[in-house]
């Protein structure tokens, strides 16, 4: 367990610009995935599920790979500051993968599926999101630990 203090952070404006750039890329990718659904005749919630799982895997992998463990407090993998290279993590994990995945669309879809009594789709969406999310999250964390 390496106990290092994090590197000095760049200015808030630089960090903000980096997250903005990454977030725009991630959001555009998610938008593109949503546009593919009608072409392959899949429901829109499938696109959200797929991008959420992809983003969880890569965010867990990269977030764990570059994590600096602090002696001061428990540091979560999602912490963008305790990293060997905070700017890359801000761009990729907080920006790209954070922008690619979405929680609000999942809430909205679950709410709609439940409201219209489509309980099979509701259960599938919720179950697959949580179970596969935890599995790909654990795989990403394990890969990140192995490639440190």
């Amino acid at each position: 367990m390496n106990s290092k203090s994090p590197p000095a952070l760049p200015s808030i404006w630089i960090m903000l610009a980096v997250v903005f750039g990454g977030g725009t890329m991630g959001t555009m990718l998610r938008y593109g995935a949503g546009k593919v659904c009608p072409i392959i005749q899949a429901d829109p919630w499938v696109a959200v599920l797929v991008v959420n799982l992809i983003a969880t895997f890569f965010a867990a992998w990269v977030g764990r790979k570059y994590l600096l463990l602090s002696s001061e407090r428990f540091v979560d993998v999602v912490d963008p500051f305790h990293k060997k290279n905070p700017l890359f993590n801000l761009f990729f994990v907080s920006g790209c993968m954070g922008g690619l995945s979405t929680f609000s669309s999942l809430s909205q879809e679950l709410c709609e599926q439940f409201s219209r009594g489509d309980f099979l789709q509701f259960a599938l969406n919720l179950g697959l999101s949580l179970i596969l999310g935890i599995i790909v999250g654990a795989l990403g964390l394990r890969l990140g630990q192995a490639t440190r």
């Binding site: 993968m97 929680f103 935890i134 999250g137």
Partner: protein, 111 residues
């Protein structure tokens, strides 16, 4: 814009050591769920008399980027792996039930 706004909230609350990360994440995701319900309800009320571009920018762009599933899942997985199963279950439960309830409430408020 959504991811940058999330980062700003995270930055000021986390650097000030005001809240633990999971609480910040929970509040961001719940706030985004309320907002997406409100905007979706507003669009229903307009019966198609709105610009699809504005809807895409607000729903997919801003609110989709503001909230995050990946950090939610990583926090939950870490909780389960670090023998904080009860905390992780609480976090997942409040996120899912709260997110759905707030999306519904947002929609009701806009109608």
């Amino acid at each position: 814009m959504g991811a940058a706004t999330r980062f700003l909230i995270y930055f000021f609350l986390d650097r000030g050591r005001l809240w633990p990360q999971w609480k910040i994440l929970l509040c961001i995701n719940l706030l985004g769920s309320l907002a997406i319900g409100y905007v979706a309800g507003f669009m229903l009320k307009m019966h198609g008399n709105y610009s699809q571009l504005i809807a895409d920018v607000m729903l997919t762009g801003f609110l989709g980027g503001f909230t995050t599933f990946s950090a939610f899942m990583i926090e939950s997985t870490e909780g389960l792996q670090n023998k904080r199963a009860r905390g992780a279950a609480f976090f997942i439960g409040v996120s899912i039930v709260g997110g759905m309830a707030l999306a519904w409430l947002g929609q009701r408020l806009s109608l």
